[in-house]
Amino acid sequence: MKATKSIFILVNLIFMLFMFLTACGTTPEDTDTAERGADEEVDEPTGDPQYGGTIVLGTSGEPVIFNALYHQDSASADVTDLIFAGLTYTDESLEVQPHIAKDNAEISDDGLEWTFELQEGVLFHDGEELTAHDVVFTYNIFLHEDYTGPRAGSFTSLESVEAVDDYTVKFTLREPDARFHTLTGYSILPEHILGDVPIGDLEDYNEFNIENPIGAGPFKFENWDPGQSLSLVAHEDYFEGRPYLDGVTFRFASDSNALVLLLETGDIDHMIAPTSELVAIETYEHVNLSSTLALRYDYIGWNLQNPLFEDVRVRQALTHAIDRQEITETVLEGQAEVAHAPVSPLSWAYNEDVARFDYDPDRALELLSEAGWEPGEDGILEKDGEKFSFTILSNDGNTTRRDIGIIVQQYLGQIGIEVKPEQMEWGAFLDKINPPNYDFDAIVLAWGLALDPDPSAIWHSKEIENGLNNISYRNDRIDEISDINTTIIDQDERAELLGEAWAILAEEQPYTFLYYPNQFVALNRDVQGFTHHPRVDMYKVNEWWLNR
């Protein structure tokens, strides 16, 4: 009896202790005093690069396929970027730079012939040399009628590709295409391995795609333990020299919360840090945070099929009524810039000189009044007996955008507009907003921008019916600019034309452009040589090294 009594007490004690620990054991460590700079760089390297060591990269997405011709997800891209090499790459300032190619393309005067000289001695992981024939083989897959991947649409302007000699490859276009720059970075596949596989079967050719991808990139595929980790080892004969690291391991976790904990315990060395967790991560002494502007903007899209948003003054008023500055300073921890147009400040096509609709609720009311909206009895704006009331939709996976829906409800409520925030699961959300449904009033969403600033995919009216212009925006000048801008090879000339488009869109406010967010990489202090790329997560990993 005595024994059981003491067990009982022990059990209770443990339980209470446990409750106590969880409740009180975690006092925040001077989070308020931590300084955060927008473009803070990682500590300067503390010495010369050294070889050796393996770093663990934390990621919540698991890759699907190690073949750039078929993957659609960023987790796969992160891995393939390390295994494969392309003719070119885009550097951290978003300039296209030669990679396997000796130099950027030599473009004929009519803009139709693009010729690359390849470096010699570029070796695949199996020791075979990468030649122009591999390049031709790779790009011909896109053009093949049996190609099943998602990229055929990008290559409609490409007529043919041929090897002039072993180290020269020539692309022939049907028409000049400024975007073609960005298409020259695709991973080059080894013809000597895949040459005999029918193109139609290539997508399911798992012997290569999943089990043993062979590329010419800095790291070799070693092992994939599904759900847990994936390891790559240094490619000794990498043409730019053996990477400093012996290997790179991707460690998969369920979500960013799990990753943060892994980072805290030192189980991972690197992760893309969510803004909401910065405060915690900053307290980790063994971790550096790097930040840079992401190639992305977040917005509220107004469904222009809805009569509420027909009037441009209404849209402008809506933007006036939302304090984007406050949102960026609070919810985004100051880690964002207010956006005014659908182009990133990082882009060469950025135009600073566009209309701005800063927080000004009075002006908003004026504009609304001009548009015929006056406060009704209950304080809600009315016009012709219609109340200004709508639903703002966001997807439930993204807490920041979900919160913005709620914040907007309050801002617009203050000027007499009734907003009902709603969240949906991503798949259902897309089904609802996309053609043919267009079943929404307003959405909170973000665009991760392509390397090429061509606006047609989102803003051209031909994209209303079946494309991404789901808010049904229609502007003849925008259509025109969309149609012609890609044929202008000269970047400055094109930038000017695009600048006009941005100005129109900023004025018309089909979206309320919210902000350009920063993106963060949390990195163990031991990792050196890191360069933060706004779009590529695994950028120049061959230059990273461990100071251990």
Binding site: A23, C24, T26, P28, E29, T31, D255, N257, V260, L261, E264, S276, E277, L278, V279, A280, T283, E326, I327, T330, V331, D396, G397, R402, D403, I406, I407, Q409, Q410, P421, E422, Q423, M424, E425, G427, A428
Partner: protein, 302 residues
Amino acid sequence: MGKPENNVIQQQSDQTLGKRRSLLSIIVAKFMQNKLAVFGLFTLAIIITACVLAPWIAPHDPNFQNLRNRLAPPGPEFWLGTDHLGRDLFSRLLHGGQVSLTVGFVAMLGAVSIGTTIGAIAGFFGGRVDAFLMRLVDVIISFPNIFLLITLVAVLEPSMEILILVFALLSWTGTSRLVRGEFLTLKNREFVLAARTIGMSNTRIIFGQILPSAMGPVIVAATLAVGGFILAESTLSFLGLGIQPPRASWGNMLTYSQSVTIFRTAVWYPTFPGLMILITVLCFNFIGDGLRDALDPRVVEK
């Protein structure tokens, strides 16, 4: 002979009149013996009252944001602090309780009504009807519940109403088996046979005779179910499929415990909804346990 018998009748009636105890008072007395159950009932009463009165007693608008005062610690202005959008946690806790309790109660009512009806029909009529209904139950039981829940909630927009509907549609099987079992025994009890011999219709027998006697275990199960649904809502919230903001529920407030930042800098934020769920479900379990003993037919019939 006549005289002593009358005498006896007199004595009998005196006797029985003396120890008169209604059914309800027996149950109540038995329930009151269970200290934990009484504690549960009392605590739950306070919680429910507070939540029902939320619109009047909440010190702040539960949805009013002050972005400049995010994650403020508990203090005189905001008793339990503020959340990540600067809303008053205490007020949200009260309003969230309304939602959580509504989900629990209404889903329970739905599940119990469906389960009772189907179980009663299957148990009473037996034969093919029973076989068919029980196969249906088998299908639903064999259906991995949480998977269906996830799929359904993902597919339908996760509003409170949908959540209740899905919970009710997926959770009646237990009740129906329970009720069926009760019906199988009760339908051969002599008082039911007696009802049949006087020509009482099946409907009347089912609802007037058997069902009231079968309700004991159902009430117990229903009590436990309310707690179960509150927990289920919080689990779905964890998976991002629960009640959606800005509407507060204990479940979706609790999910912020996932965030390391909130855990480090504002541990009170997820702690309070967590405690509310814990205490409320605990109370329901205590009450259910107490009712199980109190409603045990052996108590009433002996």
